[in-house]
């Protein structure tokens, strides 16, 4: 049993699989388990939920955790190539669960490439990983409940959150609030969040129009559509919701739709030995990810009865997710912030002006190199999908920039593979930050 992604869905799936008697390997490219929402780090206190799942995972002997990144996959041979800090491993599966999660959706605006302009979850991730934020002035902008969650977190770390600019207009938010009455636990969560942020200006119907600064961010311009004002700040955390990390699923040949990987209510994809759970099947939040993870774990063990018991929870979580998507969808103005000189593809510095000369993703790649840099279109692709309706073309390996040695790993002798695996397991054995670090480089 191989699970890709150690966020909530992956953890839940791993634990249920292992409890069902199967031996599980779980692969994640972060130094610690938890994915984005349960990101660990020095001195990070986890929520009770997070602690429980992480403890269950770490204490189960049938689960081994590998710190690495999947760079290619072979559907027919049922195996993936995982690049580690040192070397690469080819891992075969009998059942594969993809829990690769989601990344943030970024809609470009003038100045968004300045140092200091970061994602919303991105800034939280950086702060959790040790970035000092106390007394730094932060503007949080874009869309979605993540803005509040992150602003609250940053506030607790003594950041000065100047304002939260939510692009969704008031009427939509009011309707969303009314709908929350049907989900009491969510309502309670929102109230607690809002109360923790009473000292911060929360501005619906507002968005950032530009960022300015001399070699780094110094100020942003914010508007409500009628008036515009300036906020002097050190960081601008800006993102417009989430986008599924469906590239591996796509490479394997799983069917996708506009939300993500297509799955049935048991987490099964269009391919028989591959299951999928969490945000990558469609952005839906933590509860849905956990439910889907558990369901996938039970299904993988053949325990459909246990999976059935979670179906109601899954349905409710899906309903909530739909309301969320609807409430926070992007308004037209935030799709039109860029001017012809605004860089859209950050890797290759392709501006909007140049992209307007072509009419498809493929043409953009061929004529401008847009999407051909290190991120392989993960940042600009979703933006261009929202802005122009362009669909990214098929995914090809390597999924990420990879060392040549890793690409050759499939040809490596078995003994070498086993040595790498044992070394990696040894490093990951105590399943904490220290153990997952790479060993000192062999300079010979």
């Amino acid at each position: 049993m191989l699970i890709i992604g150690a966020g909530p869905a992956g953890l839940a799936a791993a634990v249920r699989c292992a409890e069902g008697g199967r031996s599980v390997s779980i692969v994640d490219d972060n130094p610690d388990i938890g994915g984005q929402i349960w990101r660990g780090g020095p001195g990070i206190a986890k929520t009770r939920d997070a602690s429980e799942w992480c403890t269950k995972l770490r204490s189960n002997n049938r689960i081994s955790i590998l710190n690495g990144r999947v760079i290619s996959a072979d559907r027919a041979l049922q195996r993936v190539t995982v690049e580690l800090a040192e070397g690469a491993l080819v891992i075969a599966w009998s059942t594969l669960i993809l829990a690769t999660g989601a990344r943030e959706l970024f809609l470009p605006f003038p100045g968004w490439t300045l140092p200091g302009v970061v994602g919303v979850g991105g800034l939280q991730a950086l702060v959790k990983s040790g970035l000092p934020i106390a007394n730094k002035r932060v503007v949080v902008a874009g869309s979605g409940p993540l803005l509040l969650a992150v602003a609250s977190y940053l506030s607790k770390q003594d950041a000065v959150v100047l304002t939260i600019a939510e692009q969704a207009p008031w009427p939509r938010l009011v309707r969303f609030g009314a709908m929350l009455l049907r989900f009491p636990s969510k309502l309670w969560q929102s109230i607690r969040l809002r109360v923790s942020l009473l000292h911060v200006r929360y501005r619906p119907g507002c968005w950032i129009t530009r960022a300015e600064g001399d070699a780094r961010l110094q100020r942003v311009h914010v508007t409500n559509g009628r008036t515009t004002w300036v906020e002097e700040c050190d960081y601008a955390a800006v993102a417009f919701g989430l986008w599924p990390n469906a590239e591996l699923a796509s490479l394997l040949g799983c069917k996708l739709d506009e939300s993500g990987v297509v799955v049935d209510s048991y987490g099964r994809t269009s391919l028989p030995d591959i299951l999928c759970a969490g945000e990558v099947t469609g952005v839906g939040g933590l509860d849905l990810s956990l439910a889907e993870g558990e369901v996938a774990g039970f299904t993988a063990c053949g325990d459909l009865t246990a999976a059935d018991r979670l179906l109601q929870r899954r349905k409710r979580a899906l309903a909530f997710a739909r309301h969320l998507q609807h409430a926070f969808r992007s308004r037209p103005e935030v799709k039109g912030l860029s001017d012809p000189n605004t860089v859209i593809c950050r890797c290759e510095d392709v501006t909007l002006g140049r992209l307007r000369e072509v009419s498809s993703w493929r043409a953009a790649k061929l004529h401008t190199r847009c999407g051909m840099g290190p991120c392989q279109g993960r940042i600009c692709g979703p933006a261009l999908n929202v802005l122009f309706g362009w669909q990214a073309s098929s995914v090809r390996p390597p999924l990420f920039p990879a060392r040549i040695g890793s690409l050759l790993a499939e040809g490596a002798p078995r003994e070498r593979q086993w040595q790498l695996y044992e070394d990696a397991m040894e490093r990951g054995d105590s399943c904490n930050n220290d153990a997952l670090q790479r060993r000192p480089l062999d300079r010979s």
């Binding site: 990144r69 939280q124 950086l126 990983s129 860089v343």
Partner: protein, 78 residues
């Protein structure tokens, strides 16, 4: 508290932080320069955008936001 070298300057940083956070903590905001010469710094925070890439111990394209600092690391911006 590990001691690392950022662009040749030794810096002591908190245990367990990522290289990206260490470099920003040290006050360096230009991790790399883009094709047209723009300074760039960590953006997505989760290993997707590659804006945080640095040369670590002589190896280029290291995603610094996902690598924890170790004693004696040599870190260079580009």
């Amino acid at each position: 508290m590990p001691s690392v070298c950022i662009n040749g300057i030794p810096v002591t940083v908190p245990d367990g932080i990522t290289v990206a956070s260490a470099v920003m903590l040290a006050g360096e905001f230009a991790f790399r320069h883009s094709i047209s010469g723009e300074p760039r710094a960590p953006f997505c925070g989760m290993g997707i955008c590659f804006e945080c890439r640095l040369v670590i111990d002589g190896l280029a394209h290291a995603r610094s936001c996902q690598i924890v600092v170790r004693e004696g690391m040599d870190i260079r911006t580009t």
